[in-house]
Symmetry: C2
């Protein structure tokens, strides 16, 4: 196949610089979900670490390279998870971290970014405005901008999840991957296509934030005017061309799911797997719920990519009354 921007040797080497607290995360069959979903389900759990998402894999790699290069400061735009992870990775290496985020971002994520000692600048607009502003800050301050999904460290860090999936001699048919900017999908997809090409890579995005999925389907960058989804971690409007090119090489499909299915997925993971996830991490379960025939009898892995939720919103989503499930 054509080559992505990613490099398997670099991904293997990345394991050496990523703090072990982010590596070798739980991967296990969750039978109590299987009878409900009609297929075998394995969980890859990326929430049991100090920043409650997979993003630490990428920021550990990025921050260690920055320090090697003598950098003292770094800036990123973030919906909240990258910012937390970069703040964590930067703090332990003495890097001055600035995070630019939408003032509408999940409050718990913003609180954690501040608590981790990063400078937080809020913009009065959505994530795409935060991206613009972060680029300005980088130019003005003369410091490195980490661009999620564009910067190869964010993809190759995420790709270490792929190594952990293929390490266990995959008996699974499909990996379900939350699709936002594309770092997770291109990272995991790159490794799977290289090491276990028989495994199907299915990206999942909310109907309310479909830009990258539409781009993948039309094989060209498609932007949207707005987003409307609770899955804040994947709510982009302006896909990056270079990331799309990689995604076209590694994704077998990209599906869109409804908000109600995302909520049903979060509720199902709470009630039947004892797992708290943020909406983006429920996309895989949502995809199975909407495509039962397609996945019937197959073995899917779903990567639970984050669990940073506002307690109030989470309680509202999962509801007080379990009988009210969609």
């Amino acid at each position: 196949m054509q080559s992505t921007r990613l490099d398997t040797a670099r991904i293997l080497a990345a394991r050496q610089v990523i703090d072990p607290v982010f590596l070798d995360t739980p991967l296990y069959r969750c039978e109590s979900l299987e009878s409900l979903l009609g297929c075998a389900v394995s969980i890859k759990l990326e929430t049991a670490n100090p920043v409650r998402s997979f993003k630490g894999r990428g920021t550990e790699l990025a921050a260690s390279l920055l320090v090697e290069d003598g950098s003292r400061a770094v800036v990123c735009a973030s919906a909240g998870n990258l910012g937390q992870a970069l703040a964590w990775s930067g703090r332990r290496r003495g890097l001055d971290v600035t995070v630019v985020a939408s003032r509408f971002a999940t409050a718990a994520k913003l609180d954690r970014i501040r608590a981790l000692g990063a400078g937080l600048e809020l913009v009065d607009g959505d994530h795409e405005l935060a991206r613009e502003r972060a680029a300005e800050v980088a130019r003005y301050e003369g410091i490195r901008l980490i661009e999620d999904s564009l910067d190869i460290e964010t993809c190759e860090g995420a790709a270490t999840i792929g190594l952990e999936l293929v390490d266990v001699a995959p008996s699974f048919d499909t990996v379900l991957i939350a699709l936002g900017g594309g770092a997770l999908a291109t990272g995991v997809g790159h490794v799977l296509k290289a090491r276990a090409p028989e495994v199907e890579i299915v990206c999942v995005q909310p109907l309310g934030a479909p830009a990258m999925t539409l781009s993948w389907r039309q094989r060209r960058v498609v932007t949207t005017e707005s987003t409307d989804t609770i899955a804040d971690g994947v709510a982009g409007r302006l896909p990056i061309g270079a990331v799309l090119e990689d995604l076209l090489l590694v994704a077998d499909d990209a599906v869109l799911v409804q908000e109600a299915s995302i909520i049903a997925g979060m509720r199902m993971l709470l009630d039947h797997a004892g797992l708290v996830v943020e909406p983006s991490a429920a996309l895989g379960i949502a995809a199975v719920l909407e495509n039962r025939d397609r996945f019937a009898g197959r073995h899917v892995v779903t990567i639970l990519c984050g669990s940073n939720v506002d307690a109030n919103a989470y309680r509202r989503w999962v509801g007080a009354d379990p009988a009210q499930g969609p």
Copy 2:
């Protein structure tokens, strides 16, 4: 020090026969709990595996030895977690597993035991009656009885958690351990006392089920007439003498906590760590909540030993309104 019944070489060897899905579980600092609790807090997470508790470590060891000895069947009494784990370990080895439980046990646990293919016998009484009945079944059927905390495999399996704690060059001062029959406390305690004797071992039990704590304090077996706690996993009345003797050698303290603190701990873990736990797994946080001065500024590890809850009861405990926290 005097010797417990446990053997560190056997515990090291146990790692080779325990399915890796139960080993090397997440261990990480949870800073969002720290500001609330006034001390450094590390989480050892034993819930992200196919049976959602640490018990698989012991049943893997026990089941593999049974198969080596040519056994075909095994019985245990269980409040629900040991039974699930034995059912899981037995199923993959072709063992015929019978679990005896109280009919008042957590329904989700009983459902999972059945779903895993074990025979389930319910008794019309508490866990101690289930223990009696399991012993009868073993005698009548001529099959092996696995007695939680008495049988050394259950302790040495749990003890592999201790190896994982000391492997990371412990910077922590205290390990908080849920105390029920004593397998977890004597297992982890044995390894810590052997490898990191400076670390304090604090057992935590509900005020409503204090038999082992009272026994530890009085250095003799003390039984109670009844139990009254939501922490079903640790609700025993009749401590085992041999286990108490080990506990006397490895525990530095045993504290009792109120039900309200257990619920507050569950709620705090949900809202601030994104973790679902069963009541027994919230005992450590409950102990810190009730003893803030004692733990102030220290670094505690709390072992989150299980997450098997009934969805309805869990929602009732953690409440729909996060403002109502105790």
